[in-house]
Structure formats: C-alpha cells, structure tokens
Amino acid sequence: MERSSLLDRLRGLALVGLGGFAGATSRHAVAVAASAPELGTLAVNVAGSFALGLLLDAARRTDAVSQRTRLLAGTGFLSSFTTYSAFAVETAALAPRWAVANVVANYAMGFLAVVLAGLVGRWTA
C-alpha cells in the first residue's frame, strides 16, 4: 500500500516533469519566433489559458479526462507553457503606458480565453 502510493507520486512527478519539458521548450520556441518578447508571452498566456480552460472544464463535466492526463497536459504542459514571471518582469521593464497596455492585454484576453473555453465546453457537451 505504502509502496504503491509512493510509486504513484513518483509517476505523477514524472508526468508533470515531462509536460514541463515540453511546455517550457514550446514557450521558448514561440518567444524566439515572436517579433517582441511581450508578444510571445501574451500569445502563450492566452493560448495556454484557453487550452487549460478546455481541459479543466472537460475534467469537471465528464470522467473522460484521467488524472494522468491532467498531470501531464494541465499541471505539466499548459502550466509551464504559460508564465507569470516573464509577464511580470516584462511589464516592469516597459514604460508606464505600455506596461498598463500589457497588463490589460494579458488579463483581458487571458480571462476571456477561459470564459470562451467554458462556452465551447458547454456547446460540445
């Protein structure tokens, strides 16, 4: 019993780590391709929020999403694909007007993405 729960935890950490590898490298690839670092961060944050919204919404509605999928795709990939630290550091480095614009863009589009994901989940349910 003890042994299998330890194995389960280690397997969970492995899934999160694997997803983290893919999420961080994908975010880096987007950053390299973006014309400005702030735009790369905005793109991953909005896309990742939409996808996590879809995943968690599906997990809440059905039992089709396994705990393993949540760990690998949600906690691992999507949470590592998006980032708050780069958003905060980039915002702090911008001139005040652009800093406000950056916060509004990330917050408004990120929240909207989650709301839209919920609507998509309802439509397809």
């Binding site: 950490l13 961080a24 975010r27 950053a31 958003f87 905060a88 702090a92 993405a113």
Partner: protein, 119 residues
C-alpha cells in the same frame, strides 16, 4: 539545440517544484499566488545580475517560466467570478499583479547587490 535542452531541463525542475508547492500549500489560489510571486522575485533577480546566457535560459526561461503559471491563475480567477465571488476574483487578479511587480523590484535590487559584490 543546446538552448532547448537547457530550457527544457529548467522546465522539468520548475514544473515539478510548482507541483510540490501546490501539494504542500493545498489552499484555493494560494498555491498559484505563491509560485507566481516567488518565481517573479527569482526572475527579477536573475535578469538584474550580469548572468551568462546559459544560466538565463535554464534558470530564467526554463525554471522560473515553468514554476510560475498564467493559465492556472486565469482559470482560478474566472472560476471565482463564475461561482459568485467577484470580489475575491478581483482581489486575486489585482493582488497577484501587485505582489508580483513588488517581487520583481525586490528581486532586481537583490540581483544588482549580488552583481556588485560578485568578482
């Protein structure tokens, strides 16, 4: 190729550290707030130190980027608003932003201080 490997390995450590923090904190939104503020502090310090490119890729883009998360923060915030707690949602949004920006500034000050004493 090496760049991606550095970012990826940092990402593994960041994601695992975030997951361990979440299981240790285990209270609504506080785990996400904790990682976002700590990670912002660390990234603020890293970019202020005249660090080498490899360290920035592994510890900054990889670790801090993966340790912190915008998607969980956004889902948490929207969920609070949707479940009839709009004030807590607004507080989570504004509070995370304020705390993270202060953390970046503090981290920057620490980074500059460390950079000036480093050989």
């Amino acid at each position: 190729m090496t760049d991606l490997l550095l970012v990826g390995l940092g990402g593994v450590a960041g994601a695992v550290a975030r997951h361990l923090t979440a299981t240790a904190v285990e209270r609504d939104q506080w785990d996400t707030l904790t990682v976002n503020v700590l990670g912002s502090f660390l990234l603020g310090a890293l970019v202020a130190v005249p660090a080498d490119e490899s360290l920035l890729l592994a510890a900054g883009t990889g670790f801090c980027g993966a340790f912190t998360t915008f998607s969980s923060f956004a889902v948490d915030t929207v969920r609070l608003a949707e479940t009839g707690r709009p004030r807590r949602a607004a507080l989570n949004a504004a509070g995370t932003l304020a705390a993270a920006l202060i953390a970046v500034a503090l981290g920057g000050a620490v980074g500059v201080a460390l950079g000036s004493v480093a050989p």
